[in-house]
Amino acid sequence: MSAPIDTAPHDDDVSGDGGEGRPLLRLRHLSTDIALRRGTVHALDDVNLEVRPGETLGIVGESGSGKTMTALSVMGLLPSGGSVVGGQILFEGRDLRSLPPDEVRRIRGVRMGMVFQDPLTSLNPTMRIGTQVAEPLRVHEGVGKAEARERAIEMLRRVGMPRADKIVDDYPHRLSGGMRQRAVIAMALICSPRLLIADEPTTALDVTTQRQILELIDDLREEFGMAVILVTHDLGVIAGRAERVAVMYAGRVVETAPTARLFRSPRHRYTEALMESLPESATRESGARERLYSIPGLPPDLSRPLNGCRFAPRCRFAAPECRTTEVTLSAGEHGYACLHPVTATTAAASVRTVAARPSAPEAASETGSETDSEAILSVRDLVKDYGATTGGLLRRTSGRVSAVAGVSFEVRPGETFGLVGESGCGKSTVGRLAVGLESPTGGRIVLDGTDIATLDRRERRRMRRQVQLMFQDSYAAMNPRMRVDAILAEPLEIQQVGDASARRARVTALLDQVGLSRRVLERYPHEFSGGQLQRLGLARALALRPRLIVGDEPVSALDVSIQAQVLNLMRDLQRELGLAYVFISHDLSVVDYMSDRIGVMYLGKLVEVGPAHDVVRAARHPYTQALIDAVPSADPGLAASRESVTIRGELPSALNPPTGCRFRTRCPIAEGICETEPPLAGDLHQVACHFPLRPESRTAAAPTG
């Protein structure tokens, strides 16, 4: 492997004794290999990092960058076949690799704590919460049962668990995702560790819950005086929470700097490109959306020998020497491994200051000019209930889950309607109803002027051509045993469009449209990367020349740079083919970037509808505002300056939704009148609230007034 000449930064403080300067954890030239069936993957190659006591280090990177492997190497939790093959893991000055196993086990068990991504799978479903939280105490400190329980309750209180003395005896399935993550954090903290490693602690959670958990970790860090390593793919999460950031790419740290400095002036070309790929970077300045920068290609295969800068093959500024010269992290507070770093002058262009936000007349005029054209999709008072059944032999319907409760909106040709909300709000159900995968309990779906309910089966099948669905996980949405040519031709076969040769021609044309080579025709879905699969999914959705595509979280599973590729493609095709999109996502910044108009859903109801720019920047519903405030922004200044409408608590059950305004149970400004249902009121920027945060803005009202 390419162990370069030792130019590791700050070799001076390795012998420092105690004090602030001495790092709590220090990784020196750490290399980790994972042996797989087909060769060895060099997951980490010469990683140098340090964490000082009491600070939060953010490790950010795309999937496969080695950020999780770094955390797992420190904790000794590498997957089978994985092993640390070189370097040192210095914890409080002692190398974990050279200590006896018993000692290492104690250090990892007591002095370190780890929080994993998925709180569901990191809790044992057959053990009571209290027993699990106190397990480290019983193992490492030999504490008795009664005392362990007491301390578990105490710890659960400290992580903000309501009714801790009750929950301590509950099983994990009784808890919501956010509560489970609190329990996992309590478990990690029960031995008062010096270091907490949080690996994507909030990725599986909704934004409002994410915010609560991140704040909790912050508070606990101060309270316990511990250091935190926050591993995430989300630049926004890092920006608001970490003191220092390490950016990883292809198993190496490519840049490390204090957070504010990194976001203000990234030096490595990869970091720069990553930030430009963020949808919010293209929407922030004005209402008009620029094209996102997308990093071409894919990350390198780490099982092959690599030379030079690993980002060079995808870098805009790569020079020949980039591909041959090994680059090491430069010394100093702001270290970067780049031969042609972003200089001060070029950086100025990419600095994203919080510009005074213009009220974007162009955004309003865009939507205003289309008011006359007839809607391609019109949804009126859509209702969808699911019968909730009790288990057992005789399935009694015990209640009705109200998934969608009276949703109305319109999508005009060529327009993107964004549907945003947290999980369980019914946004996906609306999408499924629109494409006809579910039939509504009530309300009307009018497609291109025809009420779907009035059609017979054959007509309805033909109608399907007009609306197509794009899935979040295209791999799951493609038959793994069918080749690409069969997958893309399937909609044509079903709808009996053309003969075999016409279908073949259409399939190749589709591949050209989504930017895939024709050689992929004979491949199977598992041979593609996530971004390519989304392209294929889009190609299949386009096969019948629909006028509307419903995208259900179409980019949520993708890395930022790949997400930018797919978003750009979707916008290009929209312009080219005059498509309309219903863009469903939990990610407000993506919806903001893509949509002309946005609808915000909460618990089956549309609480706010309006032009994207107005909804995001001048929200009228308290829920929308809370949602906006909870979204972590990749701008440390903005993240810190936010005064916030914070919502506490958990999403109520859709089995017995609150009467009246469904948000009133968590609303900071709710009053008695909120028990009656507020209508969706307003001209263009509608809101369903008795006490809208602000009046309809002038730009939105102007076209009608």
């Binding site: 493609m478 038959n479 079903i494 080579s517 990367s529 750009n568 290009d572």
Partner: protein
Amino acid sequence: MTTPAETTGMSEGTSPGPGDADDTPVRGLWRQGVEVFCENRLALVGLAMFVLLAAVCFLGPLFYHTDQVHTDLAAVHLPPGTDGHPLGTDGVGYDQLGRLMLGGQTSIIVGLAAGILATVVGTVWGAVAGFAGGWVDAAMMRLVDAMMSIPSLFLFMLLAAIVTPSVSMLILIIGAFAWLGPARLVRGEALSLRSREYIQAMRSMGGTGGRAVRRHIIPNAIGTVIVNATFQVADAILYVAYLSFLGLGVPPPAANWGGMLSDGLADTFSGHWWLLYPPGIAIILIVLAFNFIGDGLRDAFEVRLRRR
């Protein structure tokens, strides 16, 4: 169209990665499956064992001529190695090696045919029940449950006593009861497959249930089905052995391994070990061979094993 930079980035594969489809040679699922199968040593051993046994049974008689029709009471119970009888002779003077070949033919034919019959019937039954769901599923599966609750050996004996056992009859009898297993298996598979997103994708394009079963459910259940088929074959060979052992197999002079084993057992205490061990070992070998092959096929059909 997308920008040139982006298009070339994707199609030229500037940075080949593990998921980058464009720079690895195109290989079919079959080819990859064969590779995975070949990585499983035991499966290869199983395949070799089966090929060898089948070759000996079906091709052996062409080179090794014996009279398996006329008894020869002058040459009964000859020990192995006596002139021209490498494995000796049995109680009525048939050459034991030649008889082993003849019996093997019956066992393999009945085993394969009954196994395949059971698999086909069971797959169709299970796929229809699983995909249809509701009361159709309930009715179809209750029938399976009811038949499964009857001890099959008892039924075999009853049936074999009513009808005259012949090779085709044996196939039908064994097949008629062995399909219950695959039916349950495939029904479970179909139940989980029908809620997959690719079925939903197909439905959102306007596809019908028939298409779902034909193009999506059966191809995706085929792995389970084929693996189960190998176990069915092994089971059927054992069933033939059971029946023959109980004296309900094909009547002489036809032979099969189970029948030979049963005859050999009667001679256990006369010291005629060559009548007992060869058919017993042959049964063990062929059942093992099919089980090994089944194991290998399970790997070969597991798509996840091929993803890297």
